[in-house]
């Protein structure tokens, strides 16, 4: 199982290490750095690297690498999933997970890692349990602790650990009982040059913030559950009930969590809320090109589309862009060659448009740009 964990910052320093079995020298990370040098971007580093004696399994989150060292056969996804869970827990505890935050709270981080893994095997990963074992840091408590001499570490075993509902604390009390549900849907589509959809799929999540007292048992039913191609649930959801009645029945954890995520695949018809009309021509001769992009709403059923952002990774040869927008702002980063146009709300009467010239390095071949759109 997981032998050691190294956390590496973008500049290639191992700034934290933790060993669950005997100590492995940090020089093992050199193999990782070799691969890092070879890869063009941090995303391209293979998640599993085999070295003569160890296997390095890494994830890349918030511009840090979490490298787990294993010595024996283990399901790689097991480790990857665990590392992501570690990062999620850090984010949960410290509200963000950056190098400086981890350095600042190294004691809590260390205690957390110690609680989460025993001898390389996950022990307690449910954030509700961890929070009972080790209180998340906040200023008020720090002050209170120094005054009263109390500690952040609980001395009793959280009751949740023992129950069959490990995700929920017992004895939760709220004066205002409330539950919030967020539905997030992402539409991913590939659209060809002529504007017809090649493939489109929806990935949706239901995130909850539950603040209910006691042991609430909720059910959530859908108008048309058949639409879901594939779903995955938080462990609190009763599988059987979903299979027989298509009703989500669950005892929620306390606080924020992701109840379910679902996928509506490429077989069903997915409506894409916006369309893009573009013309981009980069001439080889001379040193200029023209760009003209218009955005418009499509099948929105009367709702407005907001926070539209358009990103175009430009070919290497583009030097700069001189563009005019009738709405929103655009930025062009000459280093990463990324053109970002923040459109904002789409007004049906006046369609947002961006046009202008692009200056090119002379003599470089034209390349077809492929815009990817991010609507939120």
């Amino acid at each position: 199982m997981i032998h050691s964990l190294f956390i590496i910052n973008p500049s290639g320093d191992v700034f934290m290490e933790k060993h669950w079995k005997s100590v492995i020298s940090r020089s093992v990370c050199d193999y990782f750095f070799d691969h890092q040098r070879k890869a063009s971007s941090p995303e391209d580093i293979p998640p599993v690297i085999a070295t003569p004696h160890h296997y390095l399994i890494s994830v890349y989150r918030s511009s840090m690498f979490f490298v787990a060292v294993c010595t024996t056969e283990v399901a790689p996804l097991f480790v990857v999933e665990f590392l992501h869970r570690v990062v999620d827990t850090f984010e949960d505890y410290f509200s963000e997970c950056t190098e400086s935050i981890i350095k600042e709270h190294y004691v809590v981080v260390y205690e957390l890692l110690d609680e989460m893994l025993d001898n390389g095997f996950p022990l307690a990963t449910e954030s509700n349990i961890l929070k009972e074992l080790i209180k998340p840091p906040n200023i008020l408590r720090t002050i209170a602790n120094t005054v009263t001499g109390k500690s952040n570490v609980s001395s009793t075993l959280p009751s949740g650990q023992l129950s069959n509902i490990p995700w929920r604390r017992t004895g939760v009390k709220y004066t205002n009982n409330e539950a919030y549900f967020d539905m997030i849907e992402e539409v991913d589509a590939i659209i060809d040059k002529s504007g017809s959809t090649v493939c489109a799929e929806i990935q949706g999540y239901i995130d909850c913030c539950i603040k209910l007292s006691g042991m609430p048992d909720l059910s959530l039913s859908f108008v048309n559950p058949r639409l879901f191609d594939d779903v995955s649930f938080h462990p609190c959801v009763r599988f059987k009930r979903w299979e027989s009645e298509r009703v989500l029945s669950f005892i929620p954890p306390d606080g924020n969590f992701r109840l379910m995520s679902y996928h509506i695949g490429s077989q069903s018809i997915v409506a894409i809320p916006v369309y893009v009309r573009h013309s981009l021509c980069l001439r080889e001769s001379g040193s200029g090109g023209r760009l003209d992009i218009t955005l418009g709403p499509k099948q929105t059923l009367g709702r407005t589309i907001e926070n539209v952002v358009l990103e175009i990774p430009m070919p290497k040869s583009v030097l700069n862009c001189g563009l005019v927008t009738n709405q929103g702002k655009y930025t062009f980063d000459p280093v990463s060659k990324l053109l970002v146009w923040e459109v904002g709300r789409i007004d049906v009467t006046k369609l947002p448009n961006i046009r202008g010239t692009i200056s090119l390095q002379s003599g470089s071949p034209p390349v077809e740009a492929n815009p990817s759109i991010n609507v939120s």
Binding site: L123, L162, N164, P166, A179, F181, G214, D217, F233
Partner: protein
């Protein structure tokens, strides 16, 4: 500071030391000072000392022994958390001297009351094993006991320990197999992964191959089988199912809901279980879940795609409906793009190749060189795998030859070369066009390919080939080695077919090569010269060789068969580390082939009942309550029977419950809630339906709908259980309801619905059922009294 009396100062000092440890700095010289503090009363100091101790005990064995007595004392602590953490640290101190102490501690802990401590004991087993291999036999005995445990908390860890210590002792699993299957859903995610992987191996060794009988008929019926996934399929499955061992079926059935787990590792392990053990007709069920994982983190995508790529080479049809999910997005990382291409080409069939080729065409225009190259190769693979499209592909590739990008041209040349080899019929124009490219292409690989082609098919272009050779001879010295080699080959081939025009040129080229810096080239030149131009005509040997020269050089060559390089991965268990890196990893357990004859299934028959009876009733009670726990989520509802109290067992139960309460006073409360539900469910005579109105505080739900989900009618409706509650105050509702439920509860024990017995059917022993129901009723009553007292 560590010697100070104040906890605050100590804590501060420990924090700094831990900071040093975390940064990887050496802190071992502080060991004596730190170890003293292991007796500290302050729990946080203690914890940090533990962390330090585990890190450095190995280096300072003698001093570490000083701390042992503290742990031994802590092992007897009434607080289960302290017991468990003492055992954890004790077993983590890798000092050989304490092996007997740890052994003793593990034995004690394995029989501990608290499942948490037992879980820790299970964790400690592999630690001790790695410290001292001689303890194996004794450890296995403890492990056997732990495997019998029926608590979900313990089972996962016990199986993990089993995998580490004695994966070959498959006989230990027999008795627990059915229990493991039924508990699977409730075990924690990490335990699920380990259990499923272990059970896959188990299934491979204990059940016969489900695909054995229907191999031939499956080939024909495959297609209609996979296309519709609904009712029809189910029926057909049913027809075939009887060939499966009932236990095998149980395993597959209990693993299936886990495909919906949020944990990718669990999903993939179920997928591999199906891949390796399920009947062919059922494997496709996992495809959908695997596709879903593609939306996860990059690392997850990568590993899942690798698995899919390996599966797709063998089970094409499985992923065919999801073809479009493998279309490449411009935002994907390069290695993910490459994997997707790999899968796309593996999936290509006559019907789908059109769409795929269109996609591939667009990919060629991308600006990611390795990806473009792979896309062109993919076109080549499609072309040679599917005969119908070869010509179209070839035309497409030829048009790419006029592309502005050098790399694209070069790659297409190489691919065209391979394609032409497969069907060398009449492609004269292409060869001519390629010959023209020699002047412009600079990538050595491509130049070499062109030259080779010209040499091979020089008869078709008798005029051009010698001309090219002339040009190449001129630039010979400035070429790359790989091109030089091909120039020589071309020269020799031409010299054989068309000696009149090229003999001199050939000699010239070989002469140049003779003085090349590369020894490989020089060797080749010498070798060729002796075959083509035997130096001494009088000796017989060389002439015989040179007579055969034409046969040697112009022999028809078999066309290369482009294959997926994922083909050879079948030997490894899907989703394992070895599978990913395609070499055997340390400690990899081979998947055994299915046995021809199934071993005796009776081995799995659980005759644990008598054993349990023999044990103290105390243990029975524990077992029962865990049984009930497990049912809680596995089944929709489990209203248990209630009957008169059994005097004998009640005392023990009370003890047991009190024990539980010491640690977790709230646990009962939550169980009460469940029971409230259950009992009221009984009352309403709707045992199948979870009564959601009960024990559910009214909630002010607020929905925030996203803009983008407008027209798919999945508009969520948060069920506000009962709308009439809306007006009443949120907090008061649950209390009222529980109060309502209580009298109902008191009356229910008399009502004894027979139908509920079937929930306990898996315990086939009727007597045992009776016992359970009695014991349960005792627990319930006790908890109710408690509850009443509390409220």
């Amino acid at each position: 500071m560590l010697d100070s009396n104040k906890d605050n100062l100590k804590l501060e000092a420990m924090k700094r030391i831990i900071g040093m440890v975390a940064k990887g700095r050496e802190a071992s010289d502080l060991f004596p000072a730190v170890v003293k503090n292991v007796v500290s009363k302050n729990i946080e100091v203690k914890k940090l000392v533990y962390v330090y101790l585990v890190r450095y005990a190995e280096e300072q064995q003698d001093l570490a022994l000083l701390s042992i007595s503290t742990f031994q004392r802590a092992l007897k602590d009434p607080n289960q958390l302290i017991r468990a953490s003492a055992l954890r640290v004790l077993s983590s101190i890798r000092v050989t001297m304490i092996v007997p102490i740890v052994m003793l501690a593990i034995k004690d802990a394995a029989a501990d009351m608290s499942p948490y401590v037992r879980k820790t004991a299970a964790h400690a087993i592999p630690k001790l094993y790695s410290l001292d291999q001689d303890q194996k036999e004794e450890l296995i005995q403890v492990l056997e006991k732990l495997l019998y445990d029926k608590t979900t908390l313990v089972v996962g860890s016990a199986v993990m320990a089993f995998e580490e210590v004695c994966p070959e002792r498959i006989d230990l699993i027999h008795k627990n197999f059915r229990k493991l299957c039924s508990l699977l859903v409730d075990v924690d995610e990490w335990g699920q992964v380990v259990i499923i992987n272990m059970l896959t191996r188990y299934a491979r060794s204990q059940f016969t191959d489900p695909n054995l009988q229907d191999v031939d008929e499956d080939e024909e019926s495959k297609r209609p089988f996979y296309e519709d996934e609904n009712e029809v399929d189910e029926e057909q499955q049913e027809k075939r199912a009887p060939t499966l061992d009932p236990d095998h079926r149980l395993l597959l059935r209990s693993a299936k809901p886990l495909l919906q787990s949020r944990n990718a590792a669990v999903v993939l392990s179920v997928a591999q279980l199906y891949h390796h053990t399920a009947p062919r007709s059922e494997v496709h069920q996992v495809a959908k879940a695997m596709i879903r994982l593609l939306r996860s983190h990059r690392e997850v995508q990568d590993i899942v795609l690798t698995s899919i790529a390996a599966t797709a080479t063998r089970r094409k049809v499985m992923f065919e409906p999801f073809l479009k999910s493998f279309f490449v997005r411009s935002s994907d990382a390069t290695h993910i793009k490459l994997l997707k291409l790999e899968i796309l080409t593996s999936l290509a069939t006559e019907s789908s190749v059109g769409i795929i080729l269109r996609e591939l065409q667009t990919y060629v225009a991308a600006h990611d060189p390795p990806f473009v190259a792979a896309a062109i190769q993919a076109i080549g693979r499609c072309a040679s795998n599917i005969k119908e499209v070869t010509d179209t592909c070839l035309n497409g590739l030829v048009s790419l030859l006029s592309n502005k990008d050098q790399a694209v041209v070069a790659e297409s040349v190489v691919v065209i070369k391979k394609l032409l080899q497969t069907q060398p019929s009449a492609h004269r124009e292409i060869i001519i066009q390629m010959a023209k490219l020699v002047d412009s292409v600079t990538v050595p690989q491509a130049r070499a390919s062109i030259l080779w082609l010209l040499g091979e098919y020089s008869e078709r272009v008798p005029k051009i080939a010698p001309d090219v050779l002339r040009k190449m001879a001129k630039t010979f010295t400035s070429e790359e080695d790989i091109v030089k080699l091909q120039v020589m080959t071309l020269a020799v081939k031409l010299c054989l077919t068309n000696p009149k025009q090229t003999k001199l040129l050939c000699q010239y080229v070989l002469q140049l090569a003779k003085y090349d810096q590369n020894y490989d080239l020089r060797d080749r030149a010498r070798f060729l010269r002796h075959i083509i131009f035997p130096a001494d005509a009088e000796s017989g040997g060389p002439t015989r060789l040179s007579k055969q020269a034409k046969k040697i050089f112009l022999a028809p060559k078999p066309a290369p068969v482009p294959e997926s390089h994922f083909k050879d991965r079948e030997q490894f268990q899907l989703g394992s580390l070895s599978h990913y890196i395609n070499t055997k990893a340390n400690g990899y357990q081979e998947l055994p082939p299915f046995p021809l004859e199934a071993p005796d299934p009776k081995a799995r028959d659980v005759e644990t009942e008598p054993q349990v009876m023999e044990q103290a009733p105390l243990f029975t009670a524990k077992k029962v309550s865990s049984k009930k726990d497990s049912k809680f989520y596995s089944d929709t509802e489990s209203p248990e029977d209630e009957s008169e109290e059994d005097e004998n067992s009640s005392d023990e139960d009370d003890d047991d419950d009190e024990e539980e309460e010491d640690s977790s006073s709230d646990k009962d409360e939550e169980e009460d809630d469940n029971e409230d539900e259950e009992s009221s469910g009984l009352e309403e005579k709707l045992p199948k339906k979870v009564v959601k109105s009960n024990a559910k505080p009214k909630s002010d739900e607020e929905e925030e709908e996203d803009e983008s989900d407008e027209d798919d009618s999945s508009s969520e409706s948060v069920s506000d259980s009962d709308s009439e509650d809306e007006s009443s105050e949120p907090s008061s509702v649950p209390k009222k309801q529980t109060r309502n439920a209580k009298p109902a509860k008191e009356s229910t024990p008399v009502v004894k619905p027979k139908s509920n017995l079937d929930l306990l059917l898996d315990l086939d022993d009727g007597v045992f059922c009776q016992l359970i129901s009695k014991v349960l009723s005792v627990i319930f009553c006790f908890q109710f009294l408690q509850h009443l007292l509390q409220s």
